[in-house]
Structures are given as structure tokens and as C-alpha cells.
């Protein structure tokens, strides 16, 4: 418990920082509303089921992706990358603090704020399209979804660290981080169920780890995963997490060994 205290403090500090700029938070929330609200309007305008998805399933899919996307996609990796590039990482390396746990605590603070806001948004969106919202009541399906959501959280945390670690070798590493961001937002199935895409696109999307972030938990919530498909999905997700952890470990070890920071 004593060892945890410093990370709890990091959580509390990050929480207060996140709450300082409330207008920024509000605008961020409106952002999510605009993008996902538009997708809901787009799918409702189709006027019926497409590709085996009813309008209610499509709307619920987008509500689910909005909740996950709002919580998972933060700018944590940019802040870490800045610390690496600007030499602030040294301050952490010299202290009795684990940099990863520290940033997991900070990320958790930001995500808890975003989760609360996202819930509010989902309620708001659900009220406007209440006739097209599916409420999942099967406890087994909800449990499966929760397990996959935890995997998504573990996965995005690894991705954030990997994207930030690339800054050890590039001046800013903004390009690779931006590419990561594009991949997480567009290849994860956050805007459209991957099953609706042409087969060649599905093959490409499923060859990447990104559908495990968003599409898998949301499809699970809709009850689209049979027990065997769920196990396969879970196995795929955690295999990608294992690969990410290996990549992260290698990058971090090499990066910290070659790290040079200049004082001012």
C-alpha cells in the first residue's frame, strides 16, 4: 500500500489537472457528440437493415464505439513523447518511481474523467434515438464484453507507450504517433462495423491489432460473438497485447540505453 501511494498521488494530480480546463473538456465532449452523432444520423438515414445489421444494431454499435473511443483515445502518448524529447524523462529515471506505473496512473485519471463525460453523452444520444438503442441484458454477454474492454485498455496503454518510445530515435516522433492515431481511429472499426466492409478490406483490417480495440468489445455487446468466437477473439486480443509488450520492452530498453538528454 505504501508503494502504491505515490501512484495514487499521480492519479490525484492528473485528475485535478484534467479538471482545470473545463471548457477544453466540454469542447472535447462536443467533439465526440458531433462525430458519433453524425454517424448515427447517417446510419438512421439508410432507412433499414444493411448487411445483417438492423438500424438499432448500427446505432447501438456507434454508441458503444463512442464510449470506448472517448475513453481509450487520449493524448497521453504525446505528453510522454514530449517528456522524452525535452529531457524531462531524466527526472523520473533518477527517482524511486516506475515511469510506466506513473503514466498508467495519470492515464487512468484522464480516462476516468473522459469515461464519466462519455456516459453522459451516451445517455444524451440514447435519449434522442431511444427507439434504436439495444440494451444488452444477458449477464454472460456483458461479462464477455467487460473482459474484452479490459483487454482494449491494456492494448491502448501498450500502444501509447510504444508510440511515445519512438521519440527516443526521432526528433519529435510526431509522424509515427500521428500514424498510430489514424490507425487506432480508423482501423479499429470505430466508425463502421468491419463486417459491412468489402472482403478485401476486412482481410486487411483483421490483419492488424486495431479491431481488438473497439470492434471486438462492441460486437460482443451486441451478442454477435458465439462462445467459441469469443474465445478466439480474446485469444487474438491478448496475443496482440503480448506482442505489443515484447515490442515495448525491446524499444524501451534500447531507448533508455541510448538516451541522451541535455540540461539547460
Amino acid at each position: 500500500m505504501h508503494r502504491l501511494r505515490k501512484y495514487l498521488m499521480a492519479y490525484r494530480l492528473a485528475l485535478s489537472k484534467a479538471l482545470v480546463y473545463r471548457t477544453n473538456l466540454l469542447l472535447g465532449a462536443i467533439n465526440v457528440l458531433i462525430w458519433f452523432g453524425t454517424l448515427i444520423l447517417l446510419y438512421r438515414s439508410l432507412g433499414g437493415a444493411i448487411g445483417g445489421y438492423s438500424t438499432a444494431e448500427l446505432v447501438t454499435y456507434i454508441l458503444g464505439t463512442s464510449l470506448l473511443a472517448a475513453t481509450l483515445f487520449t493524448n497521453v502518448m504525446d505528453q510522454m513523447a514530449d517528456e522524452i524529447v525535452e529531457g524531462d524523462l531524466v527526472n523520473y529515471l533518477l527517482r524511486p518511481i516506475n515511469y510506466f506505473y506513473y503514466w498508467i496512473a495519470r492515464g487512468a485519471a484522464v480516462r476516468s474523467v473522459l469515461l464519466v463525460i462519455a456516459f453522459g453523452e451516451i445517455v444524451l444520444l440514447s435519449l434522442t434515438v431511444s427507439d434504436d438503442v439495444l440494451l444488452q441484458t444477458n449477464p454472460m454477454v456483458l461479462l464477455q464484453t467487460a473482459v474484452l474492454c479490459l483487454g482494449s485498455l491494456a492494448m491502448i496503454t501498450c500502444f501509447d507507450f510504444i508510440a511515445a518510445a519512438l521519440s527516443f530515435w526521432t526528433e519529435r516522433g510526431f509522424g509515427p504517433r500521428w500514424l498510430f492515431m489514424i490507425c487506432t481511429r480508423f482501423l479499429s472499426g470505430a466508425a463502421l462495423p468491419i463486417a459491412l466492409m468489402p472482403h478485401w478490406a476486412q482481410t486487411i483490417f483483421y490483419a492488424t491489432p486495431f479491431p481488438s480495440l473497439i470492434a471486438s468489445p462492441v460486437e460482443s455487446y451486441l451478442g454477435h460473438l458465439s462462445p467459441s468466437t469469443f474465445l478466439l477473439t480474446l485469444l487474438t486480443q491478448w496475443s496482440w497485447i503480448a506482442v505489443s509488450l515484447i515490442v515495448l520492452t525491446v524499444l524501451w530498453r534500447k531507448g533508455t540505453k541510448s538516451y541522451v538528454a541535455y540540461g539547460s
Binding site: L42, L179, I182
Partner: protein, 264 residues
């Protein structure tokens, strides 16, 4: 004389930016790949939906692709020409770097907007043009010469509107430097502006066409090209463009007067 000097400065800025980008090949490759990936995603989105339906609120596949292509082109030019500089102004103000802009014998607006060219978007410009050509060939009715000329004029108005909205947002940085979510809001609005505006409720559509005209940016030129615009669209385009330009310049001047320097 003055214009020649600005052209020379603009050319020098382009050379400097290119040298900067060429120095980081990782950024160059990942940025271009990311931009193409994002463009490709929206094509996949349209193709996926039209695999399951013939029209979206009355728009054919070619028309929807034209909306996407038009938005892509406007967004590309916005990003390439001034977006980065206007986005970065908050950092320059925060760090006192903006003081340097004021003491130089160049318009601070020109220095802010035009000296941070984003060459990645220039590099992907041919793809954007090809996208428009493909969408053009897929239109159900080929545009007449008059429609094409009107659309070209409205395209220029759209560029002015986009510039003016960005100028307003950049000017806000003189009062608050924590406006990142406002920029993200603009980005997401730009994303949704590529969808047929008929999917939005009437009030929302009118507000975001005539008051905050992000929907007009795409719909005016694209719908003119498709022969779906009202006869007064050119007049509306001109009024909105000049009103927003006047607002942007007024806010910018007010911001400059409010600026008190932050350099230490």
C-alpha cells in the same frame, strides 16, 4: 514591391519547411502513409455502405464520393497552406515567440499563417485531384460548363470561409492558449461536413450552413457541381465568405491589441 517581397518570403518558407521535413524521413513516410490511409478509409466507408444500399438520402455513390473528394481537397489545401501556423500560434504566444513576429517588417498574420506550410499535404495533392476526377466520372449527370465554373467560384469561397474560421480560432489564442479542443472540434466538423447535409435535422443544418458554415464549405461547391444547389448559392457563398473574413480580421486585430507579450 510589397507583394513581390511576400512571394519571396513564401517561397523561402516553403524551401525551409521542405528542408525540415526532409531531415526526418520517418515523419515524412508516416505522415504521407497516414494521410493516404485516412483518405482510403472514407472511400471504404462509402463503398461499404453502397454495397448494401443504392442511395443515401437520395445521393448516388458517385455523388457521395464527390462530397468526400471535395472535402478532402479543401481540407488538404487548408492543411497545406495555413492550418499548422494558425494552430501553433498558441504555443508561440505561451512561449513569447510571437513577440518576434511583431518586431519583424512583415505582417504578423502572414507570418503566422503562411510560414508553416505543411508539405505533406502538397505531396498528397495529386491523389486528391485524382479522387475528384474519379468521383466526377461517377456522377449520374455530367456537369455543364456553367455548373463547373460556378462550382470553382464556390470552391474559392469555401477556401476563404475555411481560412476565416481558422483565423477566428487562431485569434482566440490571444485570450486563452488552452483551445486545443476547439481545433479538434473544427477537425471533427470538417470530417462530418463530407456527409450529405440532408442527414442532419433542419435547424442543425441551417445553423452549420449559414451561421458557423462548416457544412457550406463542402455542400455549396459539391452540390453546384451535381446540379443540386439553389439558384442563389453563389450569392450566399459570397455573403458568408466575406462576412466570415471580416469577422476573422476583426478578431485578429482585437487579439493583437489585447496581446501583452509573455516572453521572459
Amino acid at each position: 514591391m510589397g507583394v513581390k517581397r511576400y512571394i519571396r518570403l513564401f517561397r523561402q518558407a516553403a524551401v525551409n519547411r521542405f528542408a525540415l521535413y526532409a531531415a526526418s524521413r520517418a515523419d515524412l513516410v508516416t505522415f504521407i502513409f497516414g494521410k493516404l490511409l485516412r483518405l482510403g478509409f472514407f472511400v471504404i466507408l462509402a463503398v461499404s455502405l453502397f454495397n448494401h444500399t443504392n442511395t443515401i438520402v437520395g445521393y448516388s455513390e458517385g455523388q457521395v464520393l464527390m462530397l468526400f473528394a471535395m472535402m478532402n481537397m479543401i481540407d488538404m489545401l487548408t492543411q497545406a497552406l495555413w492550418y499548422r501556423g494558425m494552430y501553433n500560434i498558441k504555443d508561440w504566444i505561451r512561449r513569447g515567440k510571437f513577440d518576434m513576429f511583431l518586431v519583424q517588417p512583415v505582417s504578423p498574420l502572414f507570418k503566422t499563417a503562411a510560414m508553416q506550410l505543411d508539405l505533406f499535404d502538397f505531396i498528397t495533392l495529386p491523389v486528391g485531384i485524382a479522387y475528384i476526377i474519379v468521383a466526377w466520372t461517377m456522377l449520374p449527370t455530367q456537369p455543364t460548363l456553367l455548373m463547373a465554373i460556378s462550382a470553382a467560384v464556390l470552391f474559392l469561397f469555401s477556401i476563404v470561409i475555411a481560412f476565416s474560421i481558422n483565423l477566428c480560432m487562431a485569434s482566440v489564442a490571444f485570450w486563452t492558449t488552452e483551445n486545443e479542443s476547439a481545433w479538434a472540434l473544427y477537425r471533427d466538423s470538417v470530417y462530418v461536413a463530407r456527409f450529405p447535409i440532408e442527414i442532419f435535422p433542419n435547424g442543425f443544418r441551417a445553423f452549420f450552413t449559414f451561421v458557423i458554415p462548416v457544412l457550406a464549405i463542402v455542400s455549396f461547391p459539391a452540390k453546384t457541381l451535381m446540379g443540386l444547389a439553389s439558384p442563389h448559392v453563389l450569392l450566399w457563398g459570397a455573403i458568408i465568405a466575406f462576412a466570415w473574413l471580416a469577422l476573422g480580421l476583426t478578431l485578429w486585430r482585437a487579439g493583437l491589441r489585447h496581446y501583452t507579450s509573455a516572453s521572459g
